[in-house]
Amino acid sequence: MKVLKSTLAIVCAAAVLGVSGFAQAGATLDAVQKKGFVQCGVSDGLPGFSVPDASGKILGIDADVCRAVAAAVFGDATKVKFSQLNAKERFTALQSGEVDILSRNTTMTSSRDAGMGLKFPGFITYYDGVGFLVNNKLGVKSAKELDGATICIQAGTTTELNVSDYFRANNLKYTPITFDTSDESAKSLESGRCDVLTSDKSQLFAQRSKLASPKDYSVLPETISKEPLGPVVRNGDDEWLAIVRWVGYAMLNAEEAGITSKNVEAEAKSTKNPDVARLLGADGEYGKDLKVKKDWVVQIVKQVGNYGEVFEKNLGKGTPLEIDRGLNALWTNGGIQYAPPVR
């Protein structure tokens, strides 16, 4: 009944736009503080990014971004409620105010940032790109050999457009089969309905880990697009936008300064480094400017972790996904994760 549910959700959300009042700058933070939790939109189940565990707790790097925002606003990372959204529902849910943040492996593009009533704070949770997952039996070694292939894609994603661009640019033919959920497309790949499953590379690794025999499938070397995935907020509330943006940057800055969930409290009390003192609220009123707690970064790092810790916990070597930091390493380590300073 997923289809009906999602259509219904879109219709309801459209109806909400019809009867709800105006959005105002600051309204989101006020509303969040009044209801006592952050409503966070996440995916319908993507290992490493947002996926429920056996007890129903949502795990993953996208979910942790929301927890970090809650830690900054309330000093308590557990004050988050999650809404699981499929790709088609996500923007309507945010536009209509059903969720306060959409942290759902969503690619930042100009049209989404400007034309849809949404704003990307600019913090990128994960730098990704579209790739291809194929059955080894086909003997395909490069995406250029995919002429005539049938391709499973998740509906309503930038992937749909990127795949079409790539095949047109290389003068190759393909047949797209689009499904609402990633589970359906994975099932169709296994049954042989399509030759190739295409999605952001991180998702391909995650989906492969869910297949019956992951060994029989491999990810092709090509990355055919830029997919910077990050949180999204509603347009027109700069205050809330700034909070989400700087929560993300704070996690990066903490990693860069070597502050971890283990040493953060000691550092906050005894640091001699003026940079760290500003970041951890020992010096200045930077939290107050953002209208969050004075010790906001201490709470984020203590309860959720710095960016590196969150990455390793959810996606890194210790997980079934085993994803390298790659582009997502700090700029000081050869990656492109670079956060402006807190001062």
Partner: protein, 393 residues
């Protein structure tokens, strides 16, 4: 005539039922209009305030994504408006095929349920009870995931005489392409149809005048075969066939019915036919047994009794509920979104909505399409119902 001077002048009074009626009508209209205006205005303001683009300009922008099945030419650089047309055609395709097949199957099962043969009767009953009572979405998912997707891949497909191939990619079959004799053939078919109409008129006239029946069906069939066949002999074959060939990942050439279409059509046909069977059965039952007896005593054999006496009377009972089954089938086709068949809901209210973010416009368009399809079916069936209704003289 003299004006009534002394008559009491009618005053507007609340106790006058006419005045009250008008007043309430006006209040209702004002309430409905202002509610509509409020919703419209508030939506507009909110959309503007949140910086959401509105309007229908997006229909002209190029879509940029591929579509698995399109009945008209389509490339990624075509507009969203064309995507809309493709979605609409795909919905209509399923609806039309589904309606035709479900009607045929439904009539057969319905008649079978009345059969005196115990075996046929019980089989039809089991069919109706099983398929009527399982939700259509489950049936669609069953046909798709459990039947079509478990077929072997294209390289190991079931091969029927090197012309038809069934695999998890669907049903591949030869494509008919126009050859030299194509246009003469079309002309000859038109000629044959005209000849059949003339023949039927003549036969009807003779039947009314003399009462001698004529084998219209067989004569018509003969005309339809002989005239085009002669034409093909003279001008050459009207069509040549392009065979599907295995090349690379998949079959190349020929026509393909994708498994999404097959699963959807099959599921909707089987589901709706169960309801139609019950409608047909009740329709036939509604014709009193005396009609059969009267026909038999006039010397009509069982076949003509059914065709000429029972069915025409049963149709009057069958048509109205049949209309609502057709409407259900058209609307149920939107369940295809669950298996990725590119029809209105999945393609337009799904992909297009998400790529453009214009939920209100897209949903409004989609709703009006279903409304339009349903009303068209309704009008058509009402017209037919009127035509076959009992004409009282």
């Amino acid at each position: 005539m003299q004006t009534q001077i002394g008559a009491p002048k009618q005053k507007l009074s609340f106790s006058d039922p006419k005045v009250r009626a008008w007043l309430f009508q006006i209040i209702t209209i004002v309430a409905v209009v202002s509610l509509g205006w409020y919703l419209f205005n508030n939506t507009q303001t909110n959309l503007q305030h949140r910086g959401i683009t509105s309007g229908f300009d997006f229909l002209e922008r190029s879509a940029g994504f591929g579509i698995a099945q399109h009945l008209i030419d389509y490339t990624e650089s075509d507009s969203y408006a064309r995507v809309f047309v493709i979605g609409l055609l795909n919905t209509l395709l399923v609806t039309v095929i589904g309606v035709v097949l479900a009607t045929l199957l439904g009539f057969i099962i319905g008649v079978a349920r009345l059969s005196p043969n115990w075996m046929i009767n019980k089989l039809a009953t089991v069919y109706v009870e099983v398929f009527r009572n399982i939700p259509p979405l489950l049936q669609i998912l069953f046909w798709y995931f459990a039947v079509f997707l478990t077929m072997p891949g294209p390289r190991a497909s079931h091969n029927f005489g090197d012309t038809f191939f069934v695999s998890s990619r669907g049903l591949n079959m030869p494509a008919a392409l126009a050859a030299d004799g194509f246009w003469p053939f079309v002309v000859s078919v038109v000629v044959a149809i005209v000849a059949i109409v003339l023949m039927a008129r003549w036969a009807n006239k003779r039947f009314e005048a003399t009462g001698v029946p004529f084998h219209k069906f067989w004569a018509g069939l003969a005309l339809l075969i002989v005239i085009p066949a002669l034409c093909a002999l003279i001008f050459g074959a009207p069509l040549h066939w392009e065979m599907p060939k295995l090349q690379g990942f998949n079959f190349v050439g020929g026509w393909v019915l994708i498994p999404e279409l097959l699963a959807l059509t099959l599921a909707l046909t089987v589901y709706t036919a169960a309801f139609i069977a019950e409608i047909v059965r009740s329709g036939i039952k509604s014709v009193s047994h005396g009609q059969t007896e009267a026909a038999r005593s006039l010397g009509l054999r069982p076949g003509p009794t059914l065709r000429k006496v029972i069915i025409p009377q049963a149709l009057r009972v069958i048509i109205p509920p049949l209309t609502s089954q057709y409407l259900n089938l058209a609307k149920n086709s939107s369940l295809a979104a669950g298996i990725g068949y590119p029809e209105m809901v999945s393609l337009f209210a799904g992909t297009v909505l998400n790529q453009t973010g214009q939920a209100i416009e897209v949903i409004a368009i989609t709703m009006s399409v279903y409304l339009a399809i349903s009303i068209s079916i309704s009008l058509l069936m009402n017209w037919y119902n009127k035509r076959i209704a009992l004409i009282e003289r």
